[in-house]
Every structure is written in C-alpha cells, then in structure tokens.
C-alpha cells in the first residue's frame, strides 16, 4: 500500500530535510516520491510537524522490579481509572497494555527498558511482548554478578570477559549492557552501606572503577553499538557531582553513556548541603565528546522509584511515600522499590531545576537524551509538559514562579534563555537515540527507513501537541489518529545476537551446576516461549 503524508512540515535532521513537503510510505518503509505520484491513501498533514517516530532510550517499562512496583501500589492503579486530575499516579498508565498505547499516542515508536536482570530475561521479555504497538529493547545488567567479579578478581583475559558479556547479551536477548552502581549490590550483601567509584567490593577485591572499565572495554571490543550504559555510584547523594565527574573522566576517550545525570548533579552548598552542580557537569559533558548522557528529569507529583541500585534504594527507605518498600537481594543486582512524591519544596524544586539546566546547558542535542528515567523522576506521561518547558522560556518562567524560590537561587535556570527548536527535538528524541543504539533503520525519514512516523498538529499549546499526536505510523500501519489508537499491532524486541563461544558456554554450564545445582538451560529460553509471532528483531553489532 502506498501512503502519502502531504502538506506537513518535515523535520528530518539526518537527511537535512527541514520544511514543507510530502512523505511517502510503501508498506513498512519510507520511499522516495513515486514517479506517477498516485497514493492508495493520503494523509492531510497541513499545519502539522512530521518527524520520525520517537525513541526513548531509558524507561523502566517492564521486568521483575517494575512488576513488583505494580504489586506494591495497587491503590495507585485504582487511581488510574477515570478520575479527576491530579490524583496520585493518575497519568502513570501502568499495565503493559496501557504502556504501549500511551507511548504511541505521544508519537513514540521504540522504547528501551534499561535494566534487565539477565536471570529474569524471560519474565522481562514476556512483559515487553504484552506492550502493544511499539518496538522495545532491553539492556542487560552486569557488574554485580559473581561470575564477572570473580573473573576480574582472577585477572581473566579480556577475551574471556568478552565471551561472557557476549553470552549474556545473546542469551538474554539484550541490545546493550548496563552497569548499575558497579560492585555496590555485591558489597551491600556484605553489609556495606556506602560505595564510591574507587571503593573495593569485599571478597572480590575489585573496585567499582575497575568493573566499569572492564565492561566498557568488553562492550567496545565486541562492537555493541550502544556504549556501556553507566548508572554511577552515589545516586541522589549530596555531592554526587564529584562521582559523576570522576566517572566522566574515566571514559578516557572511549564512548560511555551516563544515565539520568540529573540525579548526580548535586553539590554541597547552602545550609542544607544540597545545591546545583548542573552547570559544572554540563560544561564537563560539553568538553568530553565521548560522553553521552540522559537527564532523568524530575516533574512534580506522585511516582515510584524503581531501581536495580539496591544499596541506594535501601538508603532511601525512610523517604518512602506511602510507607512501604521492597528491597530485593537478587542474583547480581537485585533492586528496590520506593514510592516517592516530588513536592515543590526546596529539594524537589532544585531537582526539577537541575534537570532543566542540564538540558539547556549541554550544547549538543546529539549527546543529551530526553528521559525522566520513568518512573523515577516522573512517569513518561509527563513528557509533553517537559517538551513545553524545553521549547518555551515563557513556559519555564511560569512554572518556575510556582516552585521554591530559595531552591532556584542555587541554580542558573532563571538566566537561561535557550529554547529547543523542532530540529533539536527531532535530533534529541529521534536521530540521536537511533544512532546511539545502532538502529540504522529508524530515527530519520529517508528512503529505506522503517515507516515509523509521528505527525503533530502545531498549536500554541506545545504540551497538547506532543500529548496527542495527529497521526502515528508504526511500520507503516496507521496506529494513532487524533490522539486515539486506531490500530492495534504487536512490535518486536530489538536484540543483538553475538554468537556464543562454546568454551564459555561449557564453563558457564559447569559454574551453574556447581554453584546453583542447575544446568544452564534453566537460565535460557527458546523464542517460542514468548508466544508472539516474531517476538524479536535482530540488530547487528559493529564490525
């Protein structure tokens, strides 16, 4: 079927196409305008902006810890039924089925779950397979698991570590690798309560820095397109900016992605010992080209923090609102669930301002990524309001007037005039994520690209424009019309498939037999276990 999207303002930075024009789709693919110009279907996009489907690189949408959070907070789900606005989590949308629909309505067509425990990969992929419409992907967590820590302690060869990383990525059907507070979960099991970049994991004698560097080298050498995704130590701590700076310095010219930098951009000034270091870290990112970051923007209201940083979540138990938490010592990282309400008090206001400072002070939209670390900073349904804050200084000023002015005095936000353009939004939420993840078939509107297209009706209300897309195409299917789901379909989980090294498989089998009394089969699964047609889509490693 040939579809013509006509009269819209095309914003496609990758192909240098900015301005009014037509876009043609044939079946699943974007094509050049046909010679005869006859379409089977014409979509009138006049008055609209036409972009590639958006890609979210870091959103906790499925898996063991996410499901535990759902289980912990059924009262917040009840609030999700149609009710007056501003009830807790009223916009969170939290079943797998709602997640896909809500993302699609906003023009998002690919979303990455960034924290999959390899041992729970089947559970995670079953959840992802029940998220409709969009494509998904996962990052496999390594860096607190006994097998890797033992290999580092025993000075295993880089090749052996690469074989292990490759097997983990392949068997868990992941698109990349994430390290979360490297070594801290293992240290917490030994009753360690704080853990920094050069601290050493008891029993193994390896530092967090060494774990990160080891994984960074393995990921790079294997040609995993996405650089090592690093959740630094000391998340949320006053003075964590120093940890983030140390980690950035440790990249040493090799690509590295730092997750939710907002949660580290905290200094120690003022009587509360809590201040903004966003300007300093933004400058550091600007001057360190191998570094990419996402923000983890805080927006006000009720949410729940879900993290595989079990040590941090244990420390945060006292701030739980409501007062119930789960702390899970898992194989490797485990995790914690701590519900939290971001208020417009000093701390919440400053966190909100810090995220915006980072967005606006990091110059290169190819290296800063649009996230709230859903749901940790805010549910992803807050994205439209965040787009408005980035694209309108008036919207920022209006919002800033309602928060703690004392907090803002510790931030540079009030002095920043920058407004994101549509082109910068298209880079930050489409082109750059596709490049960062190695997804060559999306993130742009050139001929041959997958027909993932979002069409937004322009208007004064930027948030409304992004909340409710006029049209969204996924693989050429018209899935959203006027902000409502038009067509239900099932996406794929995008994965790498590096061939496993046979010697490593034997070694792992022996390890699991000896240490867990179970064969390696217990930790793997066939694709057919997902019970969806073609549940996975394969992405190539770099050569």
């Amino acid at each position: 079927m040939l579809t013509r999207i006509t009269g819209g303002e095309i914003v496609d930075p990758v192909n240098g196409r900015i301005g009014q024009g037509d876009l043609w789709i044939e079946d699943e693919t974007i094509v050049a305008a046909p010679v005869d110009g006859r379409a089977d279907r014409t979509i009138d996009a006049s008055g609209c902006v036409v972009m590639a489907g958006a890609i979210d690189i870091h959103s906790h949408i499925g898996g063991g810890n996410v499901n535990t959070a759902r289980l912990l907070l059924p009262e917040h789900h009840a609030a999700h039924a149609p009710r007056p606005a501003n009830t807790p989590l009223s916009n969170a949308g939290w079943s797998t089925f709602e997640t896909g629909c809500l993302y699609a309505k906003m023009g998002f067509t690919t979303v990455v779950e960034p924290a999959m425990s390899p041992g729970s990969a089947l559970h995670t992929h079953l959840e992802l397979a029940d998220i409709p419409i969009i494509d998904k992907a996962t990052l496999a967590i390594l860096g607190n698991d006994d097998f890797l820590l033992s290999m580092i302690r025993d000075n295993a060869s880089p090749q052996m570590i690469e074989d292990y990383v490759a097997w983990t990525v392949g068997s868990s059907r992941a698109l990349g690798v994430k390290v979360i507070n490297a070594g801290a979960a293992a240290a917490f099991k030994e009753n360690v309560r704080t853990f920094s970049f050069d601290d050493v994991v008891p029993f193994y004698g390896v530092s967090s820095r060494r774990i990160v560097k080891t994984l960074q080298a393995a990921v790079t050498s294997l040609g995993v397109p996405h650089p090592l995704h690093v959740h630094c130590n000391n998340l949320g701590a006053s003075g964590a900016a120093e940890t983030a700076a140390e980690t950035i310095a440790a990249a040493e010219g090799v690509p590295m992605h730092l997750a939710h930098l907002q949660f580290y951009s905290y200094g120690t000034e003022g009587k509360r010992k809590f201040s903004s270091e966003a300007a300093r870290l933004a400058e550091l990112v600007n001057s360190t080209p191998e570094i990419t970051i996402d923000i983890g923007q805080v927006m006000f209201g009720q949410t729940v923090t879900i993290s595989s940083d079990v040590l941090r979540q244990f420390s945060a138990r006292g701030s739980a609102n409501p007062k119930k938490t789960v702390i899970f010592d898992g194989d490797g990282n485990g995790g914690g669930v701590v519900p939290y309400r971001y208020g417009k008090d000093f701390y919440g206001s400053l966190q909100w301002a810090i995220g915006l400072e980072l967005f606006l002070l990091i110059n290169d939209p190819w290296r800063v990524f649009f996230t709230t670390d859903h749901p940790n900073g805010a549910p992803f349904t807050a994205y439209p309001d965040l787009f408005a804050l980035l694209m309108s200084r008036d919207a920022r000023k209006e919002a800033a007037a309602g928060v703690s002015q004392k907090a803002l005095s510790f931030s540079t936000l009030g002095s920043i005039e920058r407004e994101y353009t549509f082109e910068e939004i298209a880079i930050m939420t489409r082109a750059a994520p596709a490049k960062l993840l190695g997804l060559k078939d999306r993130g742009h509107l050139g001929a041959g690209a997958l027909a993932d297209v979002a069409v937004y009706r322009k208007g004064e209300d930027i948030a409304q424009m992004f909340r409710s897309a006029a049209f969204v195409f996924k693989n050429g299917d018209l899935v959203v019309r006027n902000g409502e789901i038009e067509n239900y379909r099932w996406g794929k989980a995008l994965r790498l498939n590096p061939p496993p090294d046979k010697a490593m498989v034997r070694r792992l089998d022996a390890y699991h037999q000896e240490r867990y009394g179970l064969s390696l089969d217990w930790f793997d699964f066939p694709d057919s276990a997902i019970q969806r047609e073609q549940p996975f889509g394969e992405v190539s490693c770099n050569t």
Binding site: G62, G64, V66, N67, T68, R70, L71, L72, L73, P74, H77, A78, H80, A81, W94, S95, T96, F97, E98, G119, S120, L122, H123, L126, E127, D130, P132, D146, F188, K189, E190, N191, F203, F314, K324, T325, V326, I327, F328, D329, G330, D331, G334, V337, Y488, R515, Y516, G517, L518, W522, F523, D524, F525, P526, S528, A529, Q531
Partner: protein
C-alpha cells in the same frame, strides 16, 4: 480420543466450545479459577475482560496472603540462588509445603560459597512449636518456640527479644539465635503464605527490617503455589493488579475480598464457574445449580460440570512458562511428552473467545 463433554455426553470440541461461549454470554457474574501456566493465565485474563469475569487462583488463600504482604507492606526478599550461595544462617518460619522440601533440603545440605573465606556450616533454626522439618534429616536444626504461643506469638516474641524488649514468655534457645544473628553475614528466613497468616508475615518482615539496621538479612519466598504466583505475576503486568481482580465494571478492579472466587461461589454471587486446573481432582464440586466449565487434563467428564474440555498439562504435554522457586522467576519448561496431543488451556480459551459475539481474537 474424546476431548469434550457437555454434561456426561461426548461431543465434538467445537460444540462444547460453542456451549461455553453461550454460558459466558448469558452469565451476569462469571468467575474463573486458575491453576495453569503463564500463557493459560494470560488468555484467561483476556477472556475475563471480554466477558466481565472475576478471576482468582484455584484455592487461592495462600497466594492471596503472600500478595497482601506485598500490596500492604512490602519487605525484604532474596533470590533462591543468593540464599543457597550466601546464607550462613537459615530460619524456617512455619511449615513449608512439601513442594519446597527438596529445595530446602538441598540448600541446607550445601555449604555457602559466598559466605566468606572460611564459611562455617549453615545453622538452621525452626520457628514455632508446630514447624516440622523431618525432610531435613541430615541438617542439625534448633527450634525456637514459646510455651503456649502459636507461630505468630513466637515470631512476635523473637522480634521483641531481638530488639532488647522484655517478654513474658521467652523464646527457647534465644541466646543461640541472638548469637547466630550477631555472627551471621547474611541470614535468610524461609516463608510461605500457606502456613503463615497476614500478622505472621508482617511480624516476620518486621523482624528482618530490624535486623537490617545493623546487619544483613532477607526472606526467601517459597510460594504457596508456584503456578499461582506465576499467574499473579502475569495478572500484575497485564492489568496492574494481582489475582482477585474483576472486570465486572469494564476496567480491572482489584479487591481481595470482593473477588475471592471461593467466597463469590459460596455466597451465591457467581452464576458461572470456569475452572482451569492442572488436575481434574482439584476441581471441587460446585455449588448446587452453579454451572461449571472444567478445562483440565482428563479422559472423562468432570462430575457435575456443565461442560468439560480436556486440556494438556503445562510442561508435561506441551511447552509452558511457569514460575519456579528454584530460580525465583519465570522459566521455560519443555514438554516431557507430547503423545496425547491435547491442546493447551490458552488455545482452548482463544477458541472460546472466537465464539463470543463479534468473534474478536484475544490479544494473547
């Protein structure tokens, strides 16, 4: 081979499926009891949404108590692999179902390899006078009990004594327990909602929370039903809610009292009972005049059932995804034999959905 019956009469499967669809359409308050794998659960929940049914675990009180621990309180939990490799002290809080005995025996008999350079043999404590662990034949166990107190009372006294508070009836061998806790690198408490009620679960987690102020401890959840816990997980991601959820008003609503299917049947609220069971023996005779649809491995009609469909057994006659306490997550189970060629429950439920008005396929 006969695979479908209306009453006691053999019928073609299509006819039985049409009859089930008719029953569902005419029912005002259908209820589903689930004892099936994850995919059977997914299909059942999708069907429940279509017909406005409530669903629960078949005999789901134990799973409901475990669910309530999470929905009401949360707690500390540990993966079974970590318990096996790290726990230098094991505390068994109440009787554990026989299904878990082999795993616990194995853990007790295996020296922890992540418990320090020179780990000592694990110490095993049994909480409560009624807690039996004859299956731990080779392990040396020590009992912690309060004279005249039940399991909850013993747990309460244990927690109070650990916190340095006075108790009227002290726990036997508390000094040994206190010393073990003081020396433990990682203590693991084993529990199950089948034998431990809500106050007991709460008290156990309170004790573990107290211990974590200065040292490390956690709880290994050994579910009352592995299939039930797998169903609960699937329900939670599909609807946002665990089992005991109903679609009576269109959207999913979770209410562990209101959608307790046993209660709905006993009190006459339900007017149709659809039961998916791994064994026909588990299907109790329904309330008089309550139509029963039974989907279960069987070669004969279930007594009292309006319609019976023979289904395969998850992981035995067809591949399945099930919860496993050995790894603490969902695992893929390959069929042991495929000779009987019976359809899985999920396929049957999808077929039923296609016979409903509109004939729309289920989303899973």
């Amino acid at each position: 081979m006969t695979v479908a019956w209306i009453g006691d009469r053999d019928v073609p499967i299509t006819q039985a499926i049409e009859r089930i669809a008719e029953l569902l359409v005419s029912s005002l308050c259908p209820v589903f009891s689930l004892d099936t794998d994850v995919h059977g659960t997914r299909a059942a929940i999708a069907l429940a949404e279509r017909v406005g049914a409530a669903y629960d675990r078949l005999g789901g009180d134990g799973v409901a108590r475990e669910t309530a621990l999470l929905t009401d309180r949360g707690g500390f939990f540990v993966a079974p692999g970590e318990a096996r490799r790290r726990a230098d002290v094991i505390v068994i809080a109440g009787q554990l179902p026989a299904a878990h005995h082999a795993l616990v025996t194995e853990i007790a008999a295996t020296p922890p390899d992540l418990a320090g350079e020179a780990p000592k043999p694990r110490q095993v404590f049994l909480v409560g006078a009624e807690t039996q662990a004859a299956y731990l034949r080779k392990a040396k166990t020590m009992r912690l009990a309060c004279a005249g107190a039940d399991l909850n009372g013993t747990l309460a006294a244990l927690r109070a004594q650990c916190a340095g508070r006075a108790v009227t009836k002290p726990v036997s061998d508390f000094a040994r327990f206190a010393q073990a806790m003081a020396e433990a690198r990682f203590a693991v408490f084993l529990f199950c909602g089948e034998m431990l009620d809500a106050p007991g679960l709460e008290m156990l987690q309170g004790l573990i929370g107290d211990l974590n102020r200065k040292s490390r401890a956690s709880a290994l959840h050994l579910p009352a039903s592995e299939a039930g816990w797998g169903s609960s997980l699937a329900s939670t991601w599909m609807t946002g809610f665990p089992l005991r959820t109903g679609f009576g008003r269109g959207q999913p609503e979770f209410d562990p009292w209101r959608y307790d299917v046993s209660r709905m049947i006993e009190e006459g609220e339900a007017d149709l009972h659809l039961c998916i069971a791994a064994s026909g023996d588990q299907i109790a005779s329904s309330r008089k005049n309550l139509p029963l649809v039974a989907i279960t491995p069987t070669d004969r009609p279930i007594a009292g059932a309006a319609v019976t469909l023979a289904a395969g057994q998850p992981g035995v006659s067809h591949d399945a995804v099930v919860y496993s306490s050995r790894v603490g997550t969902l695992v893929s189970k390959t069929a042991e034999r495929r000779a009987d060629d019976l359809p899985d429950a999920a396929s049957l439920l999808r077929s039923i959905a296609r016979q409903l008005p509109g004939g729309k396929a289920l989303p899973c």
